[in-house]
C-alpha cells in the first residue's frame, strides 16, 4: 500500500512499538500536563522536569494512535536535555512543518507559539522528526501528530518556563 508508506514510515512504527520515555515523574518537583484530541479521544500526559531553564527529564503517558504515540515519543527524545528556548525552537519548527497545509487552507498563517517566525524555524534541524512530514498529506492526522507538542507548549507556559 504505497500511499500509506508516506504516513507510516518505519521510524514512526518503531517509536510506536517501542515508545521512548514512557512513565511518570513525581509531581512536584515535575510538572504534569494533559492534552486531548477532541476528534478521537486521544490523550497525552507529560511529566516535565525543568531545572534552570533546561528540560532535565520528560516522561509520557496516555493513549492514542500510532501517529500520536510515535510523535509523543519522538518529541520526548528531541527535547530531553535541551534548554527550554531550544525546545521552543524545535516546537516552532515542527509545528511549522505540520501546518504548511493548514496555513494554505486558511490563507492566514499564524505562529502558534508567538516565538520566532517561519524562516527562523527553518534553521532548526528536525532530524528523525522529519519522518512525520508524511502526515501533512493526511490533514485529519495532523492533530494526532501535533497533540504532544501543543501539550508541551502548554506545560512550559503553565510552568512559567
Amino acid at each position: 500500500m504505497p500511499g500509506l508508506e508516506d504516513l507510516y514510515r518505519e521510524i514512526i512504527l518503531d517509536h510506536y512499538r517501542a515508545p521512548r520515555n514512557r512513565g511518570e515523574l513525581p509531581v512536584p518537583p515535575a510538572h504534569r500536563v494533559e492534552g486531548f484530541n477532541p476528534l478521537c479521544g486521544d490523550e497525552v500526559i507529560l511529566y516535565l522536569e525543568l531545572d534552570d531553564g533546561v528540560v532535565t527529564d520528560v516522561r509520557t503517558a496516555g493513549q492514542g494512535c500510532s501517529i500520536s504515540q510515535a510523535s509523543t515519543s519522538m518529541m520526548s527524545a528531541a527535547v530531553k536535555g535541551r534548554s527550554v528556548s531550544e525546545a521552543r525552537r524545535i516546537i516552532d519548527a515542527f509545528l511549522a512543518l505540520m501546518h504548511t497545509h493548514e496555513t494554505h487552507l486558511e490563507g492566514t498563517p499564524d505562529s502558534a507559539t508567538g516565538n520566532g517566525d517561519g524562516s527562523a524555524a527553518d534553521d532548526v534541524r528536525l532530524g528523525d522528526l522529519a519522518a512525520l512530514q508524511g502526515v501533512v498529506k493526511f490533514p485529519v492526522r495532523i492533530k494526532c501528530a501535533t497533540l504532544a507538542w501543543y501539550t508541551l507548549l502548554q506545560g512550559f507556559d503553565e510552568a512559567g518556563a
Binding site: 478521537c40 493513549q63 494512535c65
Partner: protein, 413 residues
C-alpha cells in the same frame, strides 16, 4: 407491514457518489451513522428550487414566493406523517437535531426546571443529548442521573424507578449511534410518565432506519436530523406535543417568529413558527421532504428488514474472520439492534485501522462517536464503526472484512 426487501442495486444507482473511486478502489461507504449519502431525487429537488422557484418563504405575495412557501410547508407535512404526528404544526424545523435538543433545553427546560431537579440520561447518549443538559445543570444546579448498561449493551432498567424518582425529564436515544442498540421506548416513557417526568427522544438514529410513531412511543419531544436520513445537511427538527409547544417560551428571537414587535416588547407567532426565527433552511427543508418521499417509497419496514439481514451477515462474517481478535461493542441479538457496528481490533488503534481501510476505498469512522461517557464505560478511547444503510450490500461487508484483514497485517508486530 410488507416483508418486501430492498432492490439494493436499483437504490445504488440513485446515489451518484457511489460511482466514485478512492485510491483506485470502488467507494464503500460505511459511515451512514455519521451522515448518509443523498439520492439524486433529493439533489434534484433542491436544485429545482433554486433554478425554478426560489424566494424567501412566508414573506412574499408574489408567485414564486407562494410556490416556495407551499413546498416548504409541504415538507413539514411529510415529516409529520413520517413520524406519526397528529398535525404538521407539531413539527419545528431547526438546523440539526443538536439545535432541536438545545431548543428544548433553553425553552422548555429553563421554564420548568429548578435547582434540585433531576434529569435522567443514559450511558449511551450522544453528546447532543448530554452537553445541553450539562450546561443547564451547571447553570441551574440540576442533577444529571445516568441509566447504566447491561453486559449485553442494553439499558439496565432494574433501578429505573429510583433514577426517575423526582426527575423532570428523561432524555434518551431511540437507537445508539455506537452500539447499535434499539431501546424499548414505550417501556421507558411509561416509567418516566409514572414518575411525572417528560420524555425527550433522540431520534437521530431511529427515524432513518425503522418505522417511528411518536404517539405509540408516547414521547413528549422527539428530535431528528435530515442528513442521516438521505436528506441534506443544514436541517433537522423537533416534534413535540402541541400543548408543550404552546406553553414553551420562544428561544431564538428574530423575524418570522413574531406576531408583533414594538419598542417595548414583542408577541410571539403561532406554533410552530414561534420557534423558527429568521430565514430558515428553505431548500434544505424541501430536500428533506424529498428524502422522506424516497424513504417512504422504499418503506421503513423494508429498510429495517434489509438492515437486519445485512447486519446479521456482517456480524457473522466478522466473527468468522477475526474471532476473539475483534471485539464488537453491541448486542448480538439482531432484534434489538440496528446496522451500526462498533469494533475494536486487538492492539490497533481505531485511527490506524480507519486509515488503512480507507486505502481500500472503505469509509469507516474511527472516533469516540461523540459519546465520550460511553467510551469510558467501554474502556476504550475510540472504536472503529461501520454502519449500514439502504445502499449497502453484502459486497460492501466483504470489502470491509478484507480491508480489516489488511489493517491487521500492516500493524502486525
Amino acid at each position: 407491514m410488507s416483508a418486501a426487501t430492498l432492490d439494493v442495486a436499483r437504490i445504488q444507482a440513485d446515489f451518484p457518489i457511489l460511482k466514485r473511486q478512492v485510491h483506485g478502489k470502488r467507494l464503500v461507504y460505511l459511515d451512514s451513522a455519521s451522515s448518509s449519502q443523498k439520492p439524486i431525487q433529493v439533489l434534484d429537488a433542491m436544485d429545482r428550487v433554486y433554478r425554478e422557484s426560489y424566494a424567501n418563504v412566508h414573506r412574499g405575495v408574489y408567485t414564486i414566493a407562494e410556490e416556495t412557501t407551499a413546498a416548504y410547508e409541504a415538507a413539514r407535512g411529510k415529516v409529520a406523517k413520517l413520524l406519526g404526528a397528529a398535525s404538521a404544526k407539531e413539527i419545528v424545523f431547526t438546523k440539526n437535531i443538536t439545535e432541536a435538543i438545545n431548543l428544548v433545553a433553553y425553552s422548555w427546560a429553563r421554564a420548568n426546571l429548578r435547582a434540585g431537579d433531576a434529569i435522567v440520561v443514559t450511558e449511551m447518549e450522544h453528546h447532543a443529548n448530554v452537553v445541553p443538559w450539562h450546561i443547564l445543570a451547571a447553570e441551574r444546579g440540576v442533577e444529571l442521573r445516568w441509566i447504566p448498561l447491561t453486559p449485553d449493551y442494553q439499558l439496565d432498567t432494574t433501578k429505573l424507578d429510583d433514577l426517575l424518582d423526582g426527575a423532570k425529564l428523561l432524555a434518551v436515544t431511540a437507537a445508539s449511534n455506537v452500539l447499535g442498540t434499539i431501546n424499548d421506548l414505550r417501556q421507558l416513557a411509561d416509567a418516566a410518565h409514572a414518575a411525572g417526568a417528560r420524555v425527550l427522544v433522540d431520534g437521530a438514529q431511529a427515524v432513518p432506519h425503522f418505522p417511528v410513531d411518536v404517539q405509540a412511543w408516547d414521547a413528549d419531544f422527539v428530535g431528528f436530523t435530515a442528513h442521516k436520513m438521505l436528506g441534506p445537511s443544514g436541517i433537522g427538527g423537533l416534534w413535540a406535543r402541541p400543548e408543550l409547544l404552546e406553553e414553551m417560551p420562544p428561544f431564538l428571537g428574530g423575524g418570522e417568529m413574531i406576531r408583533e414587535v414594538t419598542k417595548e416588547g414583542f408577541l410571539p407567532n403561532e406554533v410552530p413558527w414561534k420557534f423558527e426565527a429568521g430565514t430558515m433552511p428553505i431548500a434544505e427543508a424541501i430536500g428533506l421532504g424529498a428524502a422522506v418521499d424516497y424513504l417512504s417509497a422504499l418503506g421503513l419496514d423494508a429498510v429495517r428488514a434489509h438492515e437486519k439481514s445485512l447486519t446479521k451477515y456482517a456480524l457473522d462474517r466478522l466473527t468468522d474472520r477475526f474471532g476473539d481478535r475483534l471485539r464488537i461493542d453491541g448486542p448480538r441479538d439482531i432484534e434489538v439492534r440496528g446496522g451500526t457496528i462498533s469494533m475494536v481490533l486487538e492492539g490497533i488503534h481505531a485511527h490506524d485501522v480507519a486509515q488503512v481501510v480507507d486505502e481500500e476505498g472503505v469509509c469507516v469512522r474511527a472516533s469516540h462517536h461523540c459519546a465520550k461517557p460511553l467510551m469510558r464505560v467501554l474502556e476504550v478511547p475510540a472504536t472503529v464503526r461501520a454502519s449500514l444503510y439502504v445502499y449497502n450490500d453484502e459486497a460492501d461487508v466483504d470489502a470491509l472484512v478484507e480491508a480489516l484483514s489488511k489493517a491487521e497485517q500492516f500493524f502486525a508486530i
